[in-house]
């Protein structure tokens, strides 16, 4: 019985594909130059799953901006599914979306990975895209359920970007802004993504202020204004005069402004939240990736690679430094930004020592993507434990 349904579904999918192709052919017959007309309306069902709501002014908000841009570019409507907790229960949501015929599903939180992979196995024609994920984590060695890397379903891709590039640049602004050389960092979880960001920020800070330190406070939450504010206040009480953050709210900025400290935001250009504290913010631009991926799916392919965007391709950006950043620092930032984009500079270039003074990246060497994605040590200058 189950086989019959699978067959029927494949047949249905195939017939859809045929009609879709047929439609494409006839339209190119009637309209002469296909590339001059904008994609009027792509025939594809796409959905995005959010952990929170699109107006959080943080992570989800920034994805929503990308989705809106993709909708505009492709002339389609994308289904939003909001407030979906990223635990085993989210499997139901992915299953329902696949069942309703969505061809591509974007999942914008790390915790969706395992449930999504399960649904990907059962629905091989649905294209699954896991933000901030890494396929290694779905294998037995990475704590997942698939025996080897090759067993990870082929209809599952991951997407993320080198926020560390913008983090490094924001560190330059922060390193120039601090008066006492003590900086603070309100951080979510002790995972490579966050650790990498803290390290890149610290390297940026110390590139202009070699003895400065960055004190880390963990909150164990992505989005909790109260907790993040408390953590920020604790750091400020301990004497730091510049705060950075890996959190989805602007609470640390508000706390910094209240005591006259400076602040580096995250996710989106959040200067209006604390204009007297805001220096700059590493931000995301997801739109081009969403548009590109949906287009590929409409053409019948599922990008199943691990996409890692950068400043060069525009996925990672830095908000315009505010007037609180001096002209000297602004010049340094734009010079380094240009070097990062043309590939002549990378934040994680040796010699880099860890907290204990042990060399982790040799002089002249660049950390490769694998090393970046599994980073679990703090560099020299960070105060706190990378284990949480």
């Amino acid at each position: 019985m189950k086989k019959f349904w699978k067959l029927a579904a494949t047949a249905a999918a195939a017939s859809l594909l045929v009609t879709a192709c047929g439609g494409g052919d006839s339209s190119s017959d009637t309209t002469a130059p296909a590339d001059t007309t904008p994609a009027a309306s792509l025939d594809v069902k796409a959905a995005v799953v959010y952990l929170g709501v699109p107006d959080d002014k943080g992570w989800t908000y920034q994805h929503e901006q990308g989705i809106l841009a993709a909708e505009k570019e492709l002339g389609i409507e994308i289904k939003r599914v909001e407030n979906v907790l990223d635990n085993a229960d989210s499997e139901k949501v992915f299953e329902q979306l696949a069942g309703e015929g969505y061809q591509v599903i974007f999942a914008t939180s790390f915790g969706y990975g395992a449930p999504m992979a399960k649904v990907a196995v059962k629905n091989p024609t649905t294209c699954m895209q896991w933000a901030t994920g890494a396929k290694f984590l779905l294998t037995k060695d990475g704590g997942g359920e698939f025996a080897t890397f090759d067993d990870v379903p082929k209809n599952l891709g991951t997407y993320f970007g080198a926020a560390e590039e913008a983090r490094y640049l924001s560190g330059i602004a922060a390193g120039k802004a601090t008066k006492n050389g003590k900086l603070g960092y309100v951080a979510a979880f002790p995972i490579p993504e966050v650790i990498r960001g803290i390290n890149a920020f610290t390297l940026g800070v110390r590139s202009v202020n070699p003895t400065a330190t960055v004190k880390v406070s963990w909150t164990s939450t992505w989005f909790d204004p109260t907790k993040e504010k408390q953590a920020a206040e604790a750091l400020l009480d301990s004497g730091v005069d510049v705060l950075a953050q890996h959190q989805d709210t602007t609470a640390p900025g508000v706390a910094a402004e209240a005591v006259g400290a400076k602040w580096v935001g995250y996710n989106s250009d959040v200067r209006e939240a604390a204009p007297k504290a805001f220096l700059t913010a590493p931000t995301w631009n997801w739109g081009p990736y969403y548009a590109k991926t949906i287009k590929a799916v409409a053409e019948g392919t599922c990008p199943a690679d691990e996409y890692y965007g950068s400043m060069a391709d525009g996925m990672v950006t830095l908000a315009d430094p505010s007037d609180l950043v001096d002209a000297d620092a602004k010049t340094m930032i734009s010079e380094k930004a240009a070097a990062i984009i043309d590939g002549s500079f990378a934040p994680f270039t040796g010699p880099i020592n860890d907290q204990d003074g042990k060399e982790v990246i040799a002089a002249g060497e660049k950390a490769d993507l694998g090393a970046l994605l599994s980073m679990s040590y703090f560099v020299e200058g960070v105060e706190g434990s990378p284990k949480g």
Binding site: K79, V81, E82, N87, A88, D89, Q96, P190, S376
Partner: protein, 370 residues
């Protein structure tokens, strides 16, 4: 304010049988109408929304199994709440006892690991979970029995401590419960022997049948056993119980511990099914709190909780799926779930009280007399 009439609520001495059936039905109907007006006013089709909610929650193949799967833990927390409520013991900390059941269940699963076969492992996980839930309420039960300390406050406060414990066990580096290899902090998966397979290609587990049998068994205990009789006497008249030589103290502790154990069992069902690990996400799902509503909907009748638990689960499943099956935002689904529950509970007032319209003349006459 001068209205031509006012409403007077008079307590009924006994509830007509007719009302016991009519009130819940009419309440749900009223909720549907009120929600429908709201949907219509905000530009959504009430008919389409409700039919989707119904089919997603009850009448589609994945809908009904998702609902029954979810109802498993909800029936547990429902009978847990009702078991205490029926003796006027307001254990509202079922949520916390559920966390402890999860912690205990996960511990048992990890500790006994592959040393025991599945048919031993599953009961062990469930029993350890239940025991941990009972332990979590032991202190509130004891101080309630001995000192009369409000169990409402103590059980609620312990819930927050329970939530912090779950977080601690997940996020602390090197925690026994934490998966060692994963980069993101998450619970360590219990071995396969400690997990049940779902029924076919669904999210429903055999534990559903276990909890329904348990609910019926408890119904029998309450109605037909000497223990149940003791509970009845104490809740009806503590003084009469004392004359009859029934120890209210001991029964209080017993009833509260059983209530805690049932919540803990609910937590353990999430280990043997669905989660298979300690999951910090559990602390925001509110299954324990839902049990309070489910018990109230069933008026603490153990067997009726099977029905109210399934209804509640269906509302939640259907409501949550609304944003995918239709264009209604998630908030509308949540709002409708809330409205239906609120009306159903509010309808209780009409069962207990007779509402009379008092004419204005009487009121003015009274005013004139003063």
């Amino acid at each position: 304010m001068n209205l031509p009439f006012r409403l007077a609520f008079e307590q009924r001495t006994e509830t007509p049988r007719r009302l016991a059936v009519m009130v819940p039905l009419l309440s749900v109907l009223a909720a549907i109408v009120a929600g429908g007006i709201f949907l219509f006013a905000t530009g959504y089709s009430p008919f389409e929304t409700y039919s989707n909610m119904l089919s997603d929650g009850f009448f589609s193949s994945t809908g009904i199994t998702d609902t029954l799967g979810l109802s498993t833990v909800l029936i547990c927390t429902g009978i847990a709440a009702a078991f205490a409520f029926q003796m006027n013991l307001y254990n509202i900390g079922g949520e916390g006892q559920l966390y402890l059941g999860m912690i205990g269940g996960a511990w048992a699963g990890l500790f006994f690991g592959d040393r025991l076969p599945g048919f031993v492992m599953i009961p062990v996980v469930l029993l350890v979970g239940a025991a941990c839930g009972a332990l979590w309420i032991a202190l509130p039960a004891f101080v309630r029995a001995r000192l009369g300390t409000s169990e409402i406050v103590t059980t609620l406060l312990l819930t927050y401590i329970g939530a912090s414990l779950v977080n601690h066990f997940i996020y602390r580096a090197g925690s026994y419960f934490r998966a060692p290899n994963t980069l993101f902090p998450q619970g360590r998966q219990v071995p396969d022997s400690a997990m049940l397979s779902p029924l076919g290609d669904t999210t429903m587990y055999p534990t559903f049948f276990m909890v329904t049998v348990l609910a019926v068994f408890l119904w029998w205990v309450v109605r037909r056993t000497e223990f149940g009789y003791r509970i009845q006497v104490i809740s009806d008249s503590p003084r009469a119980a004392r004359y009859a030589g029934i120890s209210a103290q001991r029964t209080t502790v017993q009833v509260m511990m059983i209530s805690g154990a049932l919540s803990g069992l609910g937590g353990a069902t999430l280990i043997v099914g669905t989660f298979g690990r300690l999951d910090p996400g559990i602390v925001v799902l509110g299954y324990g709190y839902a049990g309070i509503v489910i018990a109230a909907l069933a008026r603490n009748n153990m067997a009726a909780i099977i029905v109210s638990g399934i209804l509640f689960a269906g509302l939640r499943t259907g409501g949550d799926k609304l944003q995918i099956s239709t264009d209604t935002p998630i908030h509308i689904g949540v709002m409708l779930q809330g409205a239906i529950l609120l009306f159903a509970l509010g309808g209780e007032a009409f069962r207990r009280y007779r509402v009379r319209v008092v004419r204005a003349q009487t009121a003015t006459a009274q005013g004139a007399a003063q």
